[in-house]
């Protein structure tokens, strides 16, 4: 475009874009943008701006906002533009509002009316523009205002409108399922639309609906299968072909839907086998899109009721992915492997070396994917290697999000498969030390629970676990800086079990605890844990009838805490003081030893308060009004409930809210009570306050959650022994105990020697280092390479005969498949774009190679770095770097228009340098005229080729 016509904006705007393009630093860019904002602020509020001018201002606002600055002062003008009658202006207005406003913006209410009007317009382009805006801007509250209009548009004569109406309905469904629940049948109807585009768009909402409720759509299985069959047989118009594949995007969506429908349903799955198998055969695995469809086929096969033949196809495709040189394909292969091993675990062994290569690959993304695969195939035999690997990786990354995730995976695996207590404790120590405070507090509480409850085998092993924990923690305390969560665990364990086995004296343990409290004096939670641990140690001593001598440092610490600003610490210190003053009998009853696993019943009805309330009411207090009967109150913690409530109400409320009622008096006695006795009060506002003042050292951070009741799982008890309430069912699966004594005989352990041999012979020539073999052996049950070492022997327990058979079948089908593939000739180019100089599609080119070819060599100076430095001089290496990209080296040889990127002779001449001259002369651009025009134009505008980045002129599609 721009090439022939021009850019149709004022000089001013072009100058702005240009100066920003030439800005050498973020600061300079910001300065220019701020100047522009000032100009716009002034101009935009002038009276009687011509529409054309206004349109440009709005586009400039979009530009400013795109660069990360606030353009909210102009939003209202964009809104006004949508009211305009001219399509050109209206379209710009809609574009701007969809970019500016989120669905919860106040201005949206001003657009709804316009949208309503435009949805009924005679001009389908106006309707389309309005539908685009509907998808972005309409929120739960405004859905009813446009819903009937959108539904009407489902029958619009123009397919573009029907398609957008479908997408809009889909969006409504996502935002508020109840609002469109009566309209879902429309999606089914549109599935039979004459236009493939509408049908394709309908698959999006259907996919989502089926995800939520599979059973209501089982009747559509045959329809989907038949559509997929038709697509695969190229029955759709050729316009839907993409890189020689028939409508691949539609195929992928359909395969996703079939996977959902066929999951665990034998009958439905049987209907799909033929078509999925057919697609497996038809997919062109040399193109990227072909592989995308293949991958989706694998996903489908691994989800539906399994079929041996299809599994073979899938396994075959996976091995092709893994053997590929492309990192993308390896990544997909690893992912697909992770899906397939759930059904046929033996497949992983064939690829063990490929998996290990990926694990050691410098590409971080690939490595993570591989760790994910390992996580999925962990069993008791390889847990040690895998968790070690994961921890090693965890230590070396900075990405907190992923660190948290991998830490919790490590913990999960360790809890499930730990081979020994020793190992378990050590692993947990490593995780805590390296992931630090990123570890979820829940994980810490689980660990404490696990140590307290043991693995549940016998008391001996449990006490062994505790002693080894105590021992390792005492050792670790010597380390310089430990994360807070870990210290809490350590303090708790030392308090409970420090003196339990009699190995360490009370004074030794208390000394250590005092050290912790002193060393981490800024962390009140840790200090609180330490004090409580001290209390426990002394209590046990008193109960055992020994004389208690408080260490001098402990005494000084207590004095400090008794005067602490933290009421929590103070309270704990007083408790300690009180306990020390008691006799053995009294201590025995308030702190019985080893009672931390006992359940504590919580009286959620607070029946013990009934008498008190009765008295208060008799004395004239207001009775308590339950939350749901109150209205207009400030509801801090139940916003979600309220939102939900409004959803069902379905309409905008224009009347004012009621004034809050005076219910405060009735609650005052409750709070004062709460602060002394800490009673769970079913009143969200005050629950919050209580949490704040007492700083419960635990997972109390979610105190502001939406639940009204006090959450007690995982939270420390405030009175009696420090314990945790029993796990509720939701508090995670980690409470389950594993028989770690029994080696789990897994299907994947029974390695199939036949398959291995064939694999081996294939791979023989590749040299494999002993370390890798060893790693493979430990990961995959010891069967790497051709060596038949005893390690393999003991793990092959029962080579089941059917697997052997299967491997035969597999081999033969492999041959058939390869023969067939050879016979299928690639069909002629189906891209019918009508341009005589079709070249960018480059059908003969492997898009993957193309993709690699587009990337410049790493040796090139990263101009992002020298961007901030001085101008042309520093830029020159970058420019030279660009031209050193010799076509043959970087681009795929099949690519006929590789040189188009260099098809700007005038520019290059200006840039100077004999070398670039040569290149320019030898190049023949694929669209020289265009490029020339474009170049002339931009230079007219003052964008000279000396601008810092000659790449700007380079064709994106090389």
């Amino acid at each position: 475009m721009g090439s022939q016509g021009g850019f149709y904006q004022s000089k001013e705007f072009l100058d702005l874009v240009k100066s920003i393009g030439e800005a050498r630093s973020k600061a300079e860019e910001d300065r220019i943008v701020l100047g522009e904002i000032e100009t716009l602020k002034r101009r935009i509020s002038e009276p009687d701006i011509p529409k054309r001018k206004m349109k440009e201002y709005i586009i400039r606002l979009v530009y400013v906002e795109m660069l990360g600055h606030d353009a909210s002062f102009g939003y209202i003008h964009a809104v006004k533009m949508t009211h305009d009658n001219s399509l050109l202006v209206k379209r710009t207005g809609y574009l701007a509002v969809t970019l500016f406003l989120n669905e919860d913006h106040d201005l949206i209410i001003l657009i709804v009316n316009t949208i309503q009007k435009d949805l009924t317009s005679d001009n389908y382009l106006v309707v389309c523009a309005a539908l685009n805006a509907v998808c972005k801007l309409i929120n739960e509250e405004t859905i009813p205002a446009v819903l009937p209009l959108v539904v009407e548009l489902l029958a619009h004569p123009k397919e573009a409108v029907r398609k957008k109406a479908i997408m809009a309905l889909h969006r409504f469904y996502q935002k508020s399922p109840s609002s469109v629940s009566h309209l879902l049948s429309n999606f089914r109807k549109r599935l039979c639309d004459n236009d493939p585009g509408v049908m394709g768009a309908t698959l999006c909402p259907l996919f989502e609906l089926i995800t939520i409720d599979v059973n209501s759509y089982k009747d559509l299985v045959m329809s989907f299968v038949s559509i997929l069959k038709q697509v695969a047989e190229r029955r759709l118009p050729k316009a839907y072909d993409y890189h020689q594949m028939p409508a691949p995007f539609i195929q992928i969506k359909l395969l996703k839907i079939l996977a959902l429908l066929g999951s665990g349903d034998k009958q439905a799955s049987e209907n799909m086998y033929a078509v999925v198998g057919d697609i497996f055969k038809k997919c062109d695995s040399s193109s990227n899109i072909g592989n995308a469809v293949l991958y989706e086929c694998i996903c489908c096969v691994s989800t539906i009721y399994s079929n041996p033949k299809l599994l073979e196809f899938a396994a075959d495709a996976i091995s092709r992915f893994l053997k590929s040189d492309s990192h993308n394909l390896k990544y997909m292969g690893i992912d697909a492997l992770g899906r397939l091993i759930k059904i046929s675990p033996e497949i992983a062994e064939q690829h063990q070396l490929a998996v290990i290569d990926c694990l050691e690959d410098p590409d971080d993304t690939l490595k993570r994917k591989t760790l994910e695969l390992l996580y999925k195939m962990t069993k008791s035999t390889n847990v040690e290697v895998i968790v070690d690997r994961m921890i090693d990786y965890m230590i070396n990354i900075n990405d907190n999000h992923y660190k948290t995730e991998i830490a919790s995976r490590c913990v999960e695996l360790a809890e499930q498969f730990a081979p020994s207590n020793q190992w378990f404790i050590q692993t947990m120590n490593k995780v805590f030390m390296h992931a630090g405070d990123l570890v979820n507090t829940k994980v810490a509480h689980n660990l404490m629970r696990l140590i307290a409850e043991g693995f549940g085998e016998d008391d001996d092993t449990d006490s062994q676990l505790r002693s080894s924990a105590v021992e390792s923690y005492l050792h670790i305390l010597g380390e310089s800086k430990l994360p807070s969560v870990f210290l809490q665990v350590i303090c708790w364990v030392l308090g409970e079990y420090g003196t339990a086995d009699g190995k360490y004296s009370a004074s030794y343990i208390t000394g250590k605890l005092c050290d912790v409290a002193e060393a981490y004096s800024s962390d009140e939670t840790v200090k609180a844990y330490a004090v409580t641990a001290l209390t426990k140690i002394y209590a046990f001593e008193i109960a055992a009838g020994r004389k208690v001598d408080m260490l001098p440092e402990c005494q000084s610490l207590m004095e400090e805490f008794l005067a602490s600003h933290s009421t929590d610490l103070q309270q704990r210190a007083y408790e300690l003081q009180a306990v020390i003053g008691l006799d053995a009998h009294a201590v025995e009853s308030i702190m019985p030893s080893d009672a931390n696993c006992e359940d504590i019943e919580v009286d959620k009805n607070l029946s013990f308060l009934t008498g008190y309330i009765q008295d208060s009411i008799e004395n004239g207090a207001q009775p308590y009004i339950p939350e749901n009967e109150r209205s207009g109150m400030l509801k801090i913690s139940n916003f979600r409930n309220q939102d939900h409530h409004e959803t069902s109400a379905h309409s905008l409320r224009f009347e004012a809210y009621e004034l809050p009622k005076q219910t405060v008096q009735s609650r005052i006695p409750l709070t004062s009570l709460a602060s002394t006795e800490i009673v769970p009060v079913p009143e969200p506002i005050y629950v919050r306050e209580i949490y704040q003042t007492t700083t419960v050292p635990s997972a109390s951070s979610d105190a502001g959650s939406t639940e009204l009741k006090l959450r007690l799982d995982g939270v420390q008890k405030k009175w009696g022994r420090q314990t945790h309430s029993p796990a509720t069912s939701t508090s995670s699966s980690t409470s389950q105990k594993t028989d770690n004594g029994i080696t789990q005989v897994d299907g994947s352990n029974t390695s199939n020697s036949r398959t291995l041999e064939t694999y081996d012979s294939r791979k023989q020539q590749v040299e494999i280092t002993p370390e890798k073999q060893k790693l493979a052996a430990s990961l995959f049950g010891g069967s790497s390479k051709s060596e038949k070492k005893p390690a393999t022997g003991h793990k092959i327990s029962k080579p089941s005969s059917h697997i052997v058979e299967r491997s035969h079948v597999r081999k033969s089908s492999l041959e058939i498949a390869s023969e067939k593939k050879a016979s299928i000739q690639p069909p002629p180019d189906l891209l019918d774009f009508g341009e005589p100089t079709v070249n960018s599609a480059a059908p003969s080119v492997d898009p993957f190679k193309e993709l690699e070819g587009l990337l410049e060599p790493t040796t090139q100076v990263d101009s992002a770095e020298n961007h901030g430095s001085t101008a042309a001089a520093t830029k020159s290496p970058d420019i030279m770097g660009l031209y050193t990209e010799t076509p043959a080296g970087i681009y795929n040889k099949d690519d006929s228009d590789i040189l188009s990127g260099l098809s700007n002779p005038p520019v290059r001449n200006m840039l100077g340098g004999t070398r670039s001259m040569q290149v320019a002369q030898s190049s023949k651009g694929r669209n020289l005229k265009n490029s020339l025009e474009k170049d002339a134009l931009v230079r007219q505008m003052g964008v000279t080729p000396s601008s810092p980045n000659p790449n700007l002129f380079k064709d994106l599609l090389g």
């Binding site: 090439s3 795109m66 996903c299 990405d399 999000h401 992002a864 651009g925 790449n951």
Partner: protein, 154 residues
């Protein structure tokens, strides 16, 4: 679902952003900075996918311009890579050998095209011809001197 589309130049300059889920201006800036750092520093032979905050970002480099799309964990990365390519092909037809400069000066037109391709974070149209026809119709109606050399009506 596609959460957002970003076009960043190799210098880290933003060329186009489209957000399909609500992100505040502050979050947007942060996302762009974070992702720019990750993606621009990746070597050429590595995967075109990046793990990011529990989502996946698929990116592809064309000349000096990076096209990035953020997707859900269970989406098909290769497919998204092709959606990007599909978009670039359409841009190429529209601008006639599109280069970064076209997008810099005509970012609003790139937005119009993107609106015909993606809607509400999903691919709404996979036929280049249909997209081309719709854009041509708009250009025609808008009476803006057109630039549709590559598109023909058949």
């Amino acid at each position: 679902m596609i959460h957002f589309v970003l076009l960043i130049s190799r210098q880290g300059k933003v060329r186009l952003t489209k957000w399909y889920l609500p992100y505040s201006q502050k979050e947007r800036t942060k996302v762009i900075r974070e992702l720019g750092g990750v993606i621009l520093s990746r070597g050429p032979k590595l995967c075109n996918f990046v793990d990011w905050r529990g989502f996946k970002v698929v990116y592809k480099r064309y000349a000096s311009l990076y096209f990035c799309m953020c997707i859900d964990q269970d989406d098909n990365e290769l497919e998204v890579l092709e959606i990007i390519h599909h978009f670039v092909e359409i841009l190429d037809r529209y601008f006639g050998s599109v280069c970064e400069l076209d997008l810099i000066f005509n970012f609003h037109k790139a937005y119009y095209i993107l609106d015909e391709l993606l809607l509400a974070g999903e691919l709404q149209e996979s036929s280049k011809k249909t997209v081309a026809r719709l854009i041509a119709a708009q250009v025609f109606c808008l009476m803006e001197p057109c630039c549709f050399s590559g598109f023909t009506f058949q």
